[in-house]
């Protein structure tokens, strides 16, 4: 007989001998937590119950227990504050009225630091349950879930990459939170590569390298966000390499995120790159319209007043890249609705969003595109304009032409002219070739994506 079954028999026996009110009051949330041959330890929720059971019901309890175990000598009571789901619920009607307390709305900011678990650095808000899956992120999501199921064995390391505000951090933290939920004893640590670097610097300054090593090597799951910032930091990379190896050899799970795939991270040591690529690389691309709408719907479900479908559809179509911005726009609309106390019309929504959405657009010039392409491929600008047909020149030249056409909307003759008086058919050929290659060469696609980012962000 398990402790649970034993206590259940005791309870049903006692229930007959005392009044229902007393039974509910004093036996709610009790259970047996210790059982050796002579002493049984009963866990009680508070000191009042302990006092009462010890003084008033001890005889009943002892008697009921002895019928099952004649050798029992003693019953001890101990206060346990961890609520126990159990037994008495069958007889206890839940007359628990939830007090209504006014919770501040979404607009009220809170001390964010409080939500973060000190030990794991995870924010419990991020879970798989509130992660919306679409075709753009289903691989990453599936990989993350299977990592939780078999920690350190199948996809190790897991490398997730994708653009800003698409849910990488959410997915990473969900891995940690889910793993902790399944096994609370598991040691998880979530950190940004910047924190790792800072810790390392602090350790070097204080001459505590060993402590640093030991600290990071004791985790079962190490999750590092934005690993691309490790690029160019030789000492951090070295230290990280050793930490990674130690964890990997001991079958500990490592998870990374980055804004680009390992092969596109510049200034990354080759041995580290190959390790990043050893497990599974999963990407998160831009969300499709349906997913954006689904995200908006799930976010606004709990809100009052719930915005009408057409407004959600409009927001989903107006903001097409970044999920974080999508949520920001929704929150803005909701706040406006709450302040004015009524639903906004579609026109008003358009007005509000146009105010937010028109970010100061950078003026892109042809020379800026050419300059960035040259820096990216590390060639001299002069070569682009020459008649050279060397491979290492031809590709950047074609990419520059492609970008001039695609992003700068230059006419083909203009583009031809720009590159040393070439014919406009050359420009057409370059544009079409790159467009074609983009579809079958993911590496090229990455390169162009990063190039675009640097052109627009610098």
């Amino acid at each position: 007989m398990t402790n649970e079954e034993l206590w259940q028999t005791v309870l049903s026996e006692i229930e007959l001998s005392i009044s229902k009110a007393n039974f509910i009051t004093w036996f709610r949330n009790t259970s047996i937590i210790g059982n050796d041959s002579s002493t049984i330890t009963v866990s009680v929720p508070n000191a009042f119950t302990k006092e009462w059971l010890e003084n008033k019901y001890h005889k009943y309890i002892l008697h009921a227990l002895r019928t099952n175990n004649p050798s029992l000598r003693n019953v001890a009571y101990t206060i346990s504050t961890v609520p126990i789901k159990q037994a008495v619920h069958a007889v206890i009607d839940i007359s628990h009225k939830k007090e209504k307390t006014e919770q501040p709305g979404e607009e009220q900011l809170e001390f964010q630091e409080f939500n973060v678990d000190k030990e794991t650095n995870l924010n419990p808000r991020y879970t798989f349950d509130n992660f919306i899956v679409g075709s753009f992120n289903e691989l990453a999501h599936a990989a993350a879930k299977s990592v939780v199921k078999s920690i350190g064995t199948i996809y190790n390391p897991l490398f997730i990459y994708g653009g800003v505000g698409l849910g990488k951090t959410h997915l990473l933290q969900a891995i940690g939170n889910e793993a902790r939920k399944e096994n609370p004893n598991i040691k998880v640590r979530y950190l940004s590569s910047e924190t790792f670097t800072n810790d390392l610097i602090a350790a070097i300054q204080n001459n505590e390298q060993q402590r640093f090593k030991d600290h990071y090597r004791r985790f079962d799951i190490l999750i590092i966000d934005d690993i691309q910032f490790i690029a160019g930091k030789a000492r951090t990379q070295e230290e990280f390499f050793h930490t990674f190896n130690t964890l990997y050899e001991n079958n500990k799970q490592v998870v990374f995120s980055s804004d680009r795939p390992p092969k596109s991270i510049q200034d990354l040591e080759e041995r580290l790159r190959s390790r990043f690529e050893a497990g599974l690389i999963a990407d998160i691309s831009d969300p499709d319209y349906e997913t954006r709408l689904a995200i908006l719907k799930s976010k606004s479900e709990t809100k009052k007043p719930e915005p009408p479908a057409e407004i959600l559809e409009y927001i989903a179509s107006a903001i097409d890249k970044n999920i974080r911005e999508l949520e920001g726009a929704l929150n803005l609309i909701l706040a406006r609705m709450r302040i004015s106390g009524k639903n906004l019309s579609l026109e008003e929504v358009q007005l509000v969003l146009s105010q937010v959405n028109t970010r100061p657009k950078r003026i892109i010039t042809a020379s800026k595109i050419i300059k960035e392409v040259c820096t990216f491929y590390d060639i001299n600008e002069r070569h682009l304009f020459e008649r050279s047909r060397r491979r290492e020149i031809v590709k950047p030249r074609q990419i520059a032409m492609y970008l001039l056409r695609e992003d700068f909307h230059g006419s083909y003759p203009y583009i031809g002219q720009k590159f040393g008086g070439r014919d406009h058919t050359t420009a057409i050929h370059a544009y079409e070739k790159i467009s074609r290659d983009l579809k079958k060469d993911p590496k090229l696609a990455d390169e162009i994506k990063i190039l675009k980012e640097t052109i627009y962000n610098s």
Partner: protein, 367 residues
Amino acid sequence: MKFTCIREQLRRSILLVEKSTARKITLPILGSILFSAEKGKITLTTTNLEIGTETWLSGKVLEEGKIALPARIVGAYISGLSDEHITFTSQGENIIITTASTKTLIKGYPIDDFPLLPKVKKDEEFRLPAQEVRRGLIKTVLAAATSDIKPELSSILCKFSKNALKITATDSFRLAEYTISGLFITVKNLPYILIPIRTAIELIRLLEIETGEIEVVATSGQIMIHGDRFTLISRLTEGAFPDYERIVPQKFAAEVVVEKELLVSTLRAISLFSSKLNDVSLALHVVGMSMKLKTANVDVGEYSADIPIQISGEDLEISFNHRYLFDGIQQIEGKSVFLGFSSATGPVLIKEHNGAGYFYLAMPMKV
């Protein structure tokens, strides 16, 4: 049981303990006061199984004994009496209350059902100045969470540091900390305790008439507080209070000093005109040495006020829940209030201008 006592004393004693009763259909005894008469002393005990309170008064005990009576009826009846002397005489479970002009019978409860107050192990024992503790509780309890979702946030943290006791509460939107300094207490095993908010509110009431010091006995999970007039027993909240020290801003983008009464009356006006979100927007102008407070409600109207301030730092625009600001500013003693704005999205620190010992933090709103 039979005793005679003075009405006014009895009335006050009942007032002290009746709040820690509970109205439960399942266990009506929790709505009762246990009267015990022995050796010239009448003790009144109540409990709701979370808090237990005891108080006592002197009287002429003619026959020792105990009786449990419904708190609401006894309380209301005694406070309505006009005769000075009251005699209680038990008749089985019931009581007969006689005065010079009246005779009443009140039905009691079986006293065996009355819960036993737990004994508290003396792991830690120290004395604290009663009125300082009361002040600290009053000034912090307003920042504690009222929902039970996170028990550590619906509790008051009492943390001992060197020669000082820090009393802190937060609901994660605001935070208040009061420091009692000049103490000489060494705690061995309990570096901090978490007092549930209901216990704290009860304690504020009980401490009202206390002078001098109270004696605190604590063990993990339980606390007992002795005053001259009462003994309070309560459970303590288990868990860890958030590591709040790191959120207290040390540097400010803008530091403002403003006359307290002016700000309070402005916020009162704002409470009439703010929207359902309770939002008020603040605009600080360094050059104009002014703070513009603005709020609007589509159904009621609009309000704006420009008040003179002393300011150093930069111009800032920020929105708050006006109630959060009001709560904090209300607790400030002295004529002028210091407001330290950490950033447009970070907390504001409110304290007395040039004052120490108390501060209040509130997080802004994004509107």
